[in-house]
Subunit: 348 residues, 2 copies
């Protein structure tokens, strides 16, 4: 049994997509039980339509919901202890849930998650890992926006945590890890990236296979299982790729509807188009995973639909079932046990 | 008449693509004259096939060609004064050519260009500007790899130079300029980016219209005419977009050839596919423009074909005809004349 806590009010549409999304995920994984944190009056009409979900859920009526545009600090002040977001996270802290999923605002979710769950020992800053569709399948890209300007040690932590996530998600024994850079030669790029490359190589971890530097176009190729970068560049790479995919889709749609011949061609090849759309469907890889906390937090896109939210639940299910947090803790301990004791005081 | 200097040996294929590329560009722009810098024995067979090009060219036999994998410092040591790359750049310095185009290695081309042409007054570091296909047409993105970690003042220079290039290329009166960031709110992102935003806003230049922050997906949408970022992120955004486009093309090809129905559909819609391919054709927007030097240098992709190289020549032609360098100098002077005199000594 996997226990999943949901922030039912999160996202642009709240219960309207979260509840049918949960129902879909439950069909695929009948061993899930849900803890639902919402405003009962708003959720009831949707829950009424999904009796099977209701049967596998415990509903917790909360005082308020965090707004999508609320600043993290304001959300924390107003919503701590009482909001649907906070209480859904707290369920993980209290050991009542194995993972929490929210489509709520990223900044607030990260702030509350850090405050409530705390970062793991040895981890300075948590990262957000995205799952990226590639020519070979899927890769993990981190950080996609939690950290701006991570240093070499933080990049090393990302490599390690990304590796643990790849083992949990892809069931790869020793996933390959690459550092995102502007060239593959050792002499190129930012100092932090070069230094991180040295750290990862020297750490020689048994749990990851360090590939070296990768470039922007290696992400889509699927050159490595895990692509490591700091959050500014990672966020821009992710959004640029999403923008390019949408741009091509729009140009294709436009081109296909221009003549009756191309319209007919489209009809005949519709199966092929559908297959492509499914492969590149951002909803299927919908789910940023917060790494580096005492517990698993999954962030779903705020604007997603029920199918997309269900996919985020799927990711959370896999992460919990395969023991993501335990894998990260284990890898962190292995790494730090091998290192020299640090000079300064350290959280333990 | 526009006088264009070519590094005939540059790129993966050298004269095999440069000479037919020049011939194509000449057909489109009969007022070009070329200065060709190459190794004569290797170029002769290709030149023999293009008598019209030969008629409009002066060939300069050189001692050596810079290798595609040569380190910039080594290329400069070995190739200064004598290589096809150096001499093609020098033609601009000597006032014999209006612009130089090379498909040679980027690092060496930038090093030689800086050494030979020198940077413009007020410019610390030159940038490479790329032309990006968007849903609305084309945008300029800079820097795409010359600078790692540009500071706020350099980003300000990029905004100004990118604006001048947009006026030269798109003939826009007052092009819109955006700063690439991880969110559009003023509080988000790197310190340098936020500071650059303040500088550009306060400068209130008559030649550009400052839009504010843009995100990765705004590039493909064509939200602004000019997207400003430092080179690390810019390079990764560019390569990620190229990778995504190739990934979708490959998935589409695969999907289209799977069944006889989709194959037939493809045939019927071939016109539409061709139109899309042409719109997204990287060869058509092939040409990084070096900005901030005393002269115009166009970098073509090393692996491009004759059509791609011709497109790079087209860009050079437009830049020279529309007075790119003069526009930049003018804008720099306007900007710096308005500012307080700087504290330290300054190049003039």
């Amino acid at each position: 049994m996997i226990r999943i806590s949901l922030d039912v009010m999160g996202g642009d549409f709240g219960p309207e997509i979260v509840i049918p999304g949960a129902a879909k995920a439950l069909e695929r994984h009948p061993d899930i039980t849900f803890l639902l944190f919402g405003l009962q009056a708003e959720c009831e009409p949707y829950l009424a339509k999904h009796p099977k979900l209701r049967e596998r859920s415990v509903f917790h009526d909360c005082e308020l919901a965090v707004g999508m545009d609320e600043k993290p600090s304001a959300a924390l002040r107003r919503g701590r202890y009482v909001s649907t977001m906070w209480r859904s996270i707290e369920a993980v802290k209290l050991g009542e849930a194995d993972v929490v999923v929210s489509a709520g605002n990223t900044g607030a979710l990260m702030a509350m998650s850090k405050f409530c769950l705390r970062t793991l020992a040895h981890i300075e800053r948590p990262a957000i890992a995205g799952i990226w569709p590639t020519l070979k399948g899927e890769s993990i890209v981190l950080d996609i926006g939690a950290t701006i300007g991570a240093d070499a040690h933080q990049l090393m932590d990302f490599a390690l945590m990304g590796g643990a996530m790849a083992r949990a998600l892809f069931e790869a024994q020793r996933p390959t890890v690459g550092l995102l850079n502007v060239g593959v030669e050792e002499v190129k790029g930012q100092e932090e990236v070069k230094e991180a490359g040295r750290l990862i190589r020297e750490a020689n971890l048994p749990t990851i296979s360090y590939h070296g530097f990768v470039e922007g176009d290696d992400i889509g190729k699927g050159t490595v299982d895990v692509v490591v970068t700091e959050g500014f560049t990672g966020n821009i790479a992710l959004k640029t790729a999403e923008g390019t995919a949408r741009q091509i889709a729009e140009l294709l749609r436009e081109a296909m509807s221009r003549t009756w011949l191309s319209k007919l061609g489209y009809l005949l090849a519709k199966g092929a188009f559908d297959r492509l759309r499914e492969k590149m469907d951002p909803r299927k890889v919908n789910g940023g995973v917060f790494l580096g906390l005492n517990g698993i937090v999954i962030k779903s896109h705020g604007g997603t639909d029920a199918e997309g939210f269900a996919a985020a639940i799927d990711v959370g299910y896999d992460m919990a079932r395969n023991g993501l947090t335990e894998k990260i803790v284990e890898d962190l301990e292995t790494y730090h046990a091998r290192r020299q004791p640090p000079a300064g005081p350290e959280a333990a």
